[in-house]
């Protein structure tokens, strides 16, 4: 799977207010605008940050999208998703 469109989507969800709102309203509809494979859609919807990194997506983007869009936004949950034992919990965003 190529990282290019995945990174475009995650960048939008990290930075762009309009994209964030549309994703929150209807995530499947928002993602249908992008030429994503089914597995890519699944990883984004399930916040599978480990899977996204394994296909080459930048950790800066998996973290940014997690902080902006995930249900609990906590870095401790993010770390667990990655398989880390770290209990570090501070977000890099204010």
């Amino acid at each position: 799977m190529k990282r290019d469109v995945l990174e475009r989507v995650l960048w939008s969800l990290s930075i762009d207010r309009f994209s964030k709102e549309k994703f929150k309203e209807n995530p499947e509809k928002f993602l249908s605008r992008f030429p994503l494979e089914a597995e890519g859609v699944r990883m984004i919807l399930e916040f599978d940050v480990k899977g996204l990194q394994e296909v080459g997506v930048s950790p800066l983007l998996t973290m940014g999208y997690w902080i902006e869009m995930s249900p609990d936004r906590h870095m401790s949950s993010y770390n667990k998703k990655l398989g880390s034992e770290s209990d570090f919990s501070a977000s890099i965003k204010g």
Partner: protein, 280 residues
């Protein structure tokens, strides 16, 4: 003719701002105090403009365009990623000098990406607000700042060799600039830190001290010789920001570096090193 009066290598750790109390108090005090010391030293240097060499964190530049190196030549504000105690504000850019650096580059083989109206991220704004702005307050004089952004965190990365060449080009452009500007440089980033990866929170003191030794001995070739594989393994993806150090060090052409402070702070996910680049 403009003059280069010195420089600094400092971290830009946002966790210092969002989790101030997470670090042991003595370490926190030393790091915040070291930034203040850098501000005092910059105030004493007589600098009138500071070029801050930082890097985007996949916020400012998206997938549609990823420049290897970019300079802001006009309006500047930031940071985009506001933090507690680091709010967005206008930056007093030295537009004339920034434009001269870009134009000098065009004539000498450095095709700068130019930002006419730019929003910084924390890589610029942390050293700007803690050091440059503070030095202006301490000295009572105006100190302008120019953002230079290298591709040090988002691939395709600028090579360490090119970062060094770019520092030399900036230096030549500054020295060719008319007037009586006194210019300092800040290399913003590092040292060891893992950003967004499962190793986040790890700090490698051995690697950090190796980098500090190379910086203090002005061994730019030694820094540039480090492979990305070695940096990623020993210092994490955040340590690729050493490119910013290389560019700033080449621009300053200092005789030595002086360690202001080093603190390994896992709670702030970073080995924080602050170094002054001394020209005499």
């Amino acid at each position: 003719m403009a003059e280069i009066v010195g420089g600094f290598l400092v971290p830009h750790d946002p966790v210092m701002f969002v989790a101030r109390d997470a670090a042991p108090a003595d370490q926190a005090e030393k790091v915040w105090g070291a930034f203040e010391s850098c501000a005092e030293r910059l105030a004493e240097s007589g600098a009138t403009t500071v070029v801050i060499v930082g890097n985007d964190h996949y916020m400012l530049f998206g997938t549609t365009c990823l420049p290897k190196y970019c300079i802001a030549t006009g309006h500047v504000e930031g940071p985009l990623d506001q933090l507690p105690g680091l709010k967005k504000e206008l930056v007093n850019n030295n537009e004339a000098l920034a434009t001269a650096i870009a134009e000098h580059g065009s004539e000498t083989g450095f095709d700068w990406a130019v930002a006419r109206s730019f929003t910084t991220d924390h890589a610029f704004s942390i050293p700007y607000q803690l050091i440059v702005k503070r030095a202006a307050e301490l000295s009572g004089r105006e100190i302008k700042a120019i953002p230079v952004y290298l591709a040090s965190a988002v691939d395709p990365f600028i090579t360490t060799h090119r970062a060094r060449e770019l520092g030399e080009q900036i230096r030549e452009a500054v020295l060719a600039f008319g007037g009586d500007e006194k210019v300092a440089f800040i290399g913003s980033g590092g040292i060891s830190h893992w950003v967004g990866t499962k190793e986040s929170g790890k700090v490698n003191e051995v690697f950090d001290n190796r980098i500090i030794d190379l910086c203090c001995s002005m061994d730019i070739a030694g820094l540039a010789a480090l492979s990305d594989e070695e940096i990623l393994d020993q210092g994490g993806n955040g340590a690729l920001e050493i490119r910013n150090f290389i560019c700033a060090m080449e621009a300053v052409n200092a005789v030595r570096g002086e360690l202001v402070e080093y603190q390994p702070v896992p709670a702030w996910v970073t080995g924080l090193g602050l170094i002054e680049l001394k020209v005499a």
